[in-house]
């Protein structure tokens, strides 16, 4: 047996527990989901029929589903921009501090430790009670919007809460990447007369492209699957004005006519969309990464 095969085998053995967990709890349910998408199972009955691609044909004319796709796309675009810019900004600010780095890192990372459904309810209290209290008692009328009832403002509310939850995690990745930028390169750039901005855009940003790839990949992925923030904040309302794809799928599977098979078909489509988008993104960004 050659050494390469041996190495591969020991690699496999070491990762076996992780692979097993991944297969049992992620891969197998996902494959089952794809299978259910060609059935008319209602999630409750003991038997069901295989109906071929009928579910997918029906999705083509499902207005609520496509509206939720458009809403989700809008959300993803805004979140990728807002969350990454904020996280980069925070990472740079914290890295430029001479003291209390750990303190601020912990503070901004904190929201990640709370379940988003709880975070969502906390923010709901802020949006529906605290802000109005300020608006009514201290004349801060710029806070007096229909934060849940007006889709425009509830989108803003959703973006605020999601960023609050996401930024800490991204920030940690960016901080790690920033620390990996060799200081001699920065110094020589300063000596050559580069300003702070030039240095950031010409030296630091290209050097942390790999972090950008990961962070954008992660925000894309998380963005397409957004559920808990919207569920706890607006419930998708008023009506379906802030309904994301996941909420639409949830409604189909558990609330209305309990069409588990049809909901699985929708999930399969969402999976394909996420797959294509992230593959394109990875391919596009991997090419531009720098290696020292």
């Amino acid at each position: 047996m050659n050494s390469k095969a041996k190495q591969n085998r020991s690699l496999l053995v070491f990762t076996l527990p992780a692979i097993l967990v991944y297969m049992i709890f992620k891969l197998v349910p996902a494959l089952f989901g794809i299978f259910y998408s060609v059935t008319d199972w209602n999630g409750l009955n003991k038997n069901f029929n295989i109906i071929g691609l009928d579910n997918f044909k029906e999705i083509l004319s499902d207005v609520y589903f496509w509206n939720s796709i458009i809403f989700t796309l809008k959300y993803v675009v805004v979140m990728v921009l807002v969350a990454n810019v904020l996280a980069l900004l925070l990472a740079n600010l914290i890295e430029s501090l001479s003291k209390a780095k750990g303190f601020f890192r912990t503070i901004f990372f904190m929201p990640n430790m709370i379940s988003m459904i709880i975070g969502g309810y906390m923010w709901m209290f802020i949006f529906t009670k605290v802000l109005y209290y300020f608006a009514d008692n201290y004349g801060m009328s710029f806070l007096d919007h229909s934060w849940i009832g007006n889709p425009k403002w509830s989108f803003v509310a959703i973006v605020i809460v999601s960023s609050w939850a996401m930024v800490g995690y991204l920030m940690i990745i960016y901080i790690a990447a920033l620390q990996g930028v060799p200081s001699q390169i920065k110094e020589s750039a300063y000596l050559d007369g580069a300003g702070k901005w030039t240095c950031f855009f010409k030296i630091i940003l290209p050097m942390i492209r790999h972090a950008l790839t990961i962070c954008i990949f992660w925000t894309l992925n998380a963005g397409f699957q957004v559920f808990d923030v919207i569920y706890s904040l607006t419930g998708g309302g008023p009506g379906r004005a802030t309904q994301s794809v996941s909420l639409n799928i949830y409604e189909e599977a558990f609330q209305n006519n309990i069409r588990f098979g049809y909901a699985s078909a929708k999930s399969t489509i969402l999976f394909l969309i996420v797959l294509v988008v992230t593959l394109v993104q990875l391919k596009f960004m991997k090419k531009r990464e720098l290696e020292l």
Binding site: G43, L44, N45, K46, M124, F127, T128, K129, Y132, S146, W147, I148, G149, N150, G235, G237, P238, G239, R240, A241, Y250, E251, A253, F254, Q255, N256, N257, I258, R259
Partner: protein, 419 residues
């Protein structure tokens, strides 16, 4: 060599753990142990049911030398159904679980309900309530929450303004203008959760259909009816929305109930189940129930009689005899009254003897006068759609015509799928 040591060590740890586990079971041998998984959908009554489960455990230990351990789970009510469905589908059914009486037929068909007809409890439940949980002559669940409900009002405010409960649209308009003139907001609007605005259509449709168009629902199920016949209920909805508190979309049901209790509005379209929150917020509240007017016909103003929550035994339960004992214990002659009274549930069986609250009496008076109807059973997708559309109507994203069109469409889709 290293590998061997690691292997031996891990085997010895595993054996040790196994042995330790064995010892534990041996220690409690004399009493037979049974575990009972109970899942319920009303976390607001957690304390009461936990106490009741403890009483049952004590009773079993004393009377049958049976050590019962009840695992009581109460997921929040809006996620309850999805949790339950996931567990039923995954062959992990709880021994006992609550379900809405509207779902009894579906769960019965899919083989998830044990027949309770021959249990002692069946002889105790009042006949008209037993009907709401019976299919094909089989009693399939223990009714828990059965109520007569309609809109709530603050009796003190009404008395101060010299007003009586309205029966018609114009009387309601009058009530609103008097209240407004005296500086009160007539209605509490709490539309953040979609099931709350939906209560308006529940009451209005029920009152109108059972009085004026009794065949409407059966025609709807045959694709031969339309919400256009129900158009006049939107006159009332307009009155409620125009005379309500502001920021309705930002008001949740619980905080709405609390603010109603503090006198922020005089009326609230919300069932008697909110009385718990209301009375804890303001124990001095003089809470009343009135039938919501539907149009100019005073006969349409009725209260809704319905069984919502029921308790079922799963046929595949591994300790079904104990599960059935628990189901019977829910209507126990000695202990049931205290449980039902502490939860504020209405009496529904011969074993229930307790004083009911004033608002329950209000509703009972309507029932005594024949101004009551059995809850209409709509497909759940239609009920949900009504909630969504009323939210959209409140923020002026849809018109009445669009609502009618979309509800008809949703009803027809549900019919197609349930054929």
């Amino acid at each position: 060599m290293k590998k061997l040591i690691v292997l031996l060590l891990s085997i010895s740890v595993a054996v040790g753990l196994f042995a330790a586990g064995q010892n534990e079971t041996n220690a409690t041998e004399p009493v037979k142990e049974v575990e009972l998984n109970v899942m319920m959908s009303f976390p607001r009554y957690m304390d009461q049911w936990e106490t009741y489960c403890n009483q049952f455990e004590a009773k079993m230990l004393k009377e049958e030398n049976l050590k019962v351990k009840i695992n009581l789970e109460m997921p929040s009510s809006d996620q309850y159904e999805s949790v339950l469905q996931a567990r039923l589908a995954g062959n992990d059914a709880p021994d006992l679980y609550t379900l809405h009486s509207n779902n009894i037929a579906t769960y019965y068909k899919s083989g998830n309900l044990e027949d309770l007809t021959n249990q002692v409890l069946a002889t105790k439940v009042y006949e008209n309530i037993k009907n709401t949980v019976t299919i094909d002559g089989k009693m399939l669940a223990v009714p828990i929450e059965s109520q007569a409900w309609a809109a709530l009002y603050n009796k003190d405010i009404f008395e101060e303004c010299g007003l009586n409960a309205p029966y018609t649209l114009s009387e309601l308009k009058n009530v609103c203008s008097v209240l407004t003139a005296k500086g009160y907001t007539p209605f509490m609007l709490a539309f953040q959760e979609q099931w709350v605005p939906q209560l308006m259509t529940a009451l209005l449709l029920g009152g109108k259909v059972t009085t004026e168009v009794p065949d409407w629902l059966s025609r709807m199920y045959d694709d031969k009816g339309s919400y256009a016949e129900m158009r006049d209920i939107f006159d009332i909805i307009d009155v409620i929305m125009q005379n309500g508190t502001s920021r309705a979309m930002e008001q949740g049901s619980e905080s709405g109930a609390a603010e109603f209790a503090m006198g922020k509005s005089a009326m609230f379209v919300q069932g008697t189940w909110a009385s718990g929150t209301i009375m804890t917020t303001n124990p001095d509240m003089n809470l009343g129930v009135f039938a919501l007017p539907v149009n100019e016909n005073p006969d349409c103003a009725k209260v809704n009689i319905s069984t919502s929550t029921t308790l079922a035994v799963h046929p595949a339960s591994s300790s079904k005899d104990v599960a059935l004992k628990f189901a019977n214990y829910v209507l126990n002659d000695n202990d049931s009254s205290a449980l039902f009274e502490s939860c504020g549930f209405n009496p529904l069986a011969t074993c229930h003897e307790y004083e009911v609250s004033s608002w329950v009496n209000d509703a009972s008076e309507y029932v005594a006068q024949g101004k009551a109807y059995q809850d209409l059973v709509l497909p759940s997708s239609v009920t949900n759609e009504q909630g969504k559309l009323l939210q959209e109507y409140y923020v002026k994203a849809v018109t009445v015509d669009q609502i009618i069109e979309r509800l008809d469409k949703t009803f027809q889709e549900a019919n197609k799928l349930n054929k």
